[in-house]
Amino acid sequence: MSFSLTESLDLFVKEHNNRQLVTIPIVVFMLSILALALMFASTGAPVKLGMEFEGGTMIAVTTSESALSIETKYSDYPIIDARSAGERVVMQFGPMDNKVQRALEDDITASYSDVEIKQIGAVYGSALQLQAVKAVVLSFIGMAAVVFLIFRTAVPSIAVVLSAFSDMTIAAAFMNLAGIELSLGTVAALLMLIGYSVDSDILLTTRILKRRGTVEEKISQAMHTGITMTTTTLAALVVMYLVSTYSYLVSSSLPQIPMLSDISIVLIFGLAADIMNTWLLNTAILRWHVDRSTPRRRRT
């Protein structure tokens, strides 16, 4: 599987010039920005904020009742949504005062088993929002600083940083399309994406700048290694996503694990974006950079 992908990607890179190569990732990046902007225009945040950032209560229980009947049953409370997966029903409630909250919790614990409750106050939620933004910005700046320290040349460093930025943007836009909310798990995934994204970029850049041989040759070798890296990681993440999300199909009492499910799906799409950004965008920029700084006669 990884072979055919590598071969065809390699061929694609060889057959197209730099301008053609960067067009695809730039178009996808622009569309992603558009998706984030549309979400921002309608909700005031570039991605849909989940309960942990908006405040509210999440309750999950094991029951044979349908999501709809549960929604009706708790309609006296500020219930927003109820969804079922196998025998698990997950309810979302808006903010309520302590007494109402307490009554709801007592009712739920008395009537159901395997209860999971998570409540975040609106004030704390907005404090978390601020922290999440800070964390992402700081991580990104830190990563950029390290990348510049490693390569000490502008164009390759900018290419790596740009590629990581685009990975995160596309992953976030995908969250909007797929209706995934920003949770603590997805913030973690976006940050982890910085790490994964830079792995293959550093490999590519080091190979091209610090090795002998023709650029084309170095690109295809780096691609062999890089695609193997990304596909192994993807394989692990796909399995993690399936186990944490669809276990109930095997046995209907198995719960979903939202944190693992969120982290893995966002990383899967982030890494898919990373394949494109590393081997089209970053490769084209590096190829252009090397060609520009080597004498004309050595061009192939």
């Binding site: 395997d114 830079v198 080091t206 990681t233």
Partner: protein
């Protein structure tokens, strides 16, 4: 023959390599730290701690409400406002001797007159300070000896119905208000007594939300103390960020956790009658406020204030039992949840005064040495009887049933295991060599093992977030092993040792660079102490470190050995 000899030498040399030795020691240390064992009735157990989401239990996160501000006001206006609203008589301020620059110019006082009669205890009840009362020509003239600082404290705590603590800074006195009050509310309140919030030089107001670190830590200690006094051991109470406190209740459901957190301790004062007998005086609800321990007259003191009912009860019982006439025969004892926490006779001066009028402001002295200071601080906590010094707000809570937690645990371990299998499958499809597959998967497993070992050694709790962190690290780990492998097998076969070493160092240059960026990218989460994500970030960083420093160098050595043998 010759080939075998060379091989034997290299077999020996691999264990002489310092990196291999460190690796083996790290594995053994992890085994000790994890301590897996089998107990007949408990089954398979380890030394690892699990978080609430895997173990079952509940957590509460509370925010401390408060504000710290520097304010100014007209002392006369404060006295007028407070006396009129509490006693209900209109008064006339006749003289104010409190310099506005705060310089102490002898005795500072506020003088006022009224048509009505005032008693000493009415003035005492206001808590504004010492007063002298003169009655002449149908006019009561009161001189109230006080300072601007204590007037502002009294005014704020009275209006906001909370404790207010003055803190001396170099640029003036700031007031810690232990309840939620917005900048605007405070500004409006100060305007009623001709005052305002003091401005910084840049025009902003000297106001910030929150409480001091000391107050936050005291709140934490009181909570800890209370939970421990209820016989609940090992309930960690942690501060998170500036204004948050997080309490983990392992194995306790959310309703019980809330009950425990809300239930105050039972504080009681009794006075000894004869021998071991004593009579009840008052409960903790009659203690209006508790002050910070102070040192004067060679003794440590913990000040506290009684309510009117409390002060009257103490006066009545002190007289009835004879404690007022013969204090040494009738000691005053304090109990928290029926355990004696303080016992001493009334001081002669207090005994004398209590015969004439109820005393609101009391002090418990504990002695003059360092230990007495600790006792005074303990007493301060006990007097509060689990009541917190600041208003708190529940901002988050959670609950996971024990059975569900167990299921999460099993399922996430399964997810990790299947992920590893998937990785192995992809690696095998790529290299078609079990000589590469086995060391690669083994290295990955050894990394997981060492991360768990580290977790066991430092006693940190593994929760879902840390498990996600471990899986993420395995992802980057395999990435790095692929880089090493491809670098070494540049032309599809193992190069001579010299070239091999050069390539290994090239591979590690890439790996270290990648590890550095991941570590830097994760560190804001660790520093910011961001709820559940801190565990994720710490695991990721520790995992990356263990990987690049301990496990992956050994993979570089082993892969060469194994491939050489395969040739």
């Amino acid at each position: 023959m010759r080939g075998d000899e060379v091989k034997d030498k290299e077999d020996q040399s691999i264990f002489k390599d310092i990196r291999v030795r460190i690796f083996i020691i790290a594995l053994l240390a992890s085994l000790v730290a994890i301590h897996p064992w089998y107990v007949a009735d408990e089954g398979f157990t380890t030394n690892l701690n699990y978080g609430l989401d895997l173990e079952g239990g509940s957590w509460l996160q509370i925010k401390l409400q408060g504000a710290i501000a520097q304010v100014d006001a007209d002392p006369g206006a404060i006295v007028k406002q407070m006396v009129e609203s509490t006693i209900g008589t209109s008064i006339e301020i006749t003289d104010v001797n409190i310099p506005s620059d705060g310089s102490s110019n002898g005795q500072t006082y506020v003088m006022f007159t009224t048509d009505d009669y005032f008693t000493q205890s009415q003035i005492d009840l206001l808590g504004l300070g010492r007063a002298t009362i003169n009655r002449k020509d149908d006019l009561t003239e009161v001189t109230l000896y006080s300072t601007k600082e204590s007037l502002i404290v009294a005014f704020l705590s009275n209006s906001l119905n909370t404790e207010v603590v003055p803190i001396a800074y170099t640029d003036g006195i700031q007031y810690e208000i232990r309840t939620a009050v917005s900048e605007q509310e405070l500004q409006d309140l100060m305007a009623t007594v001709g005052g305002s919030i003091v401005k910084n030089t840049d025009g902003t107001l000297k106001y910030r939300e929150g409480v001091t670190t000391e107050t936050r830590d005291m709140t934490k200690d009181i909570l800890s103390d209370k939970l421990n006094s209820l016989g609940l051991k090992d309930i960690p109470v942690r501060t998170v960020g500036e204004d948050y406190i997080l309490i983990d209740f392992a194995g306790i459901d959310l309703a019980t956790a809330k009950d425990i957190a809300e239930k105050p301790g039972k504080f009681e004062i009794r006075i000894q009658t004869t021998g071991n007998d004593s009579v009840h005086v008052l409960y903790g609800d009659n203690i209006e406020s508790v002050g910070v321990p102070g040192f004067h007259e060679g003794q440590w003191h913990t000040p506290f204030r009684l309510t009117e009912t409390g002060a009257l009860a103490l006066q009545r019982i002190a007289i009835e039992t004879g404690a007022a006439d013969n204090p040494d025969a009738h000691w005053l004892n304090m109990y928290l949840d029926d355990n004696e926490v303080y016992s001493a006779p009334l001081s002669p001066s207090a005994a004398e005064r209590v015969k004439q009028f109820p005393i609101y402001a009391w002090e418990s002295s504990t002695g003059g040495d360092e230990e007495s200071k600790i006792q005074a601080e303990q007493l301060q906590i006990h007097l509060r009887a689990g009541a917190l010094p600041v208003n708190v707000e529940l901002v988050g809570s959670g609950h996971v049933d024990a059975a569900l937690g167990k299921q999460f645990k099993t399922q996430s371990v399964l997810a990790g295991f299947l992920s590893l299998l998937a990785v192995a499958f992809v690696v095998f499809r790529r290299y078609h060599q079990k000589e590469i597959l086995v060391p690669m998967v083994a290295t990955s497993i050894s990394e997981i093992f060492m991360i768990l070992g580290f977790a066991g050694a430092v006693g940190w709790q593994l929760d879902l977030a840390s498990i996600a962190g471990i899986i993420a690290v395995i992802g980057t780990g395999i990435d790095h092993l692929v880089i090493i492998t491809d670098e070494v097998l540049h032309e599809g076969k193992l190069p001579p040792t010299k070239v091999y070493l050069a390539r290994i160092s090239k591979a590690f240059a890439i790996i270290f660079a990648a590890a550095a960026t991941t570590t830097i990218a994760m560190s804001p989460l660790v520093v910011m102490g961001f709820g559940a994500l801190k565990g994720f970030a710490i695991t990721a960083i520790v995992g990356v470190m263990i990987g690049v420093l301990i496990a992956r160098p050994v993979y570089g050595i082993v892969i060469k050995e194994v491939l050489q043998k395969a040739d």
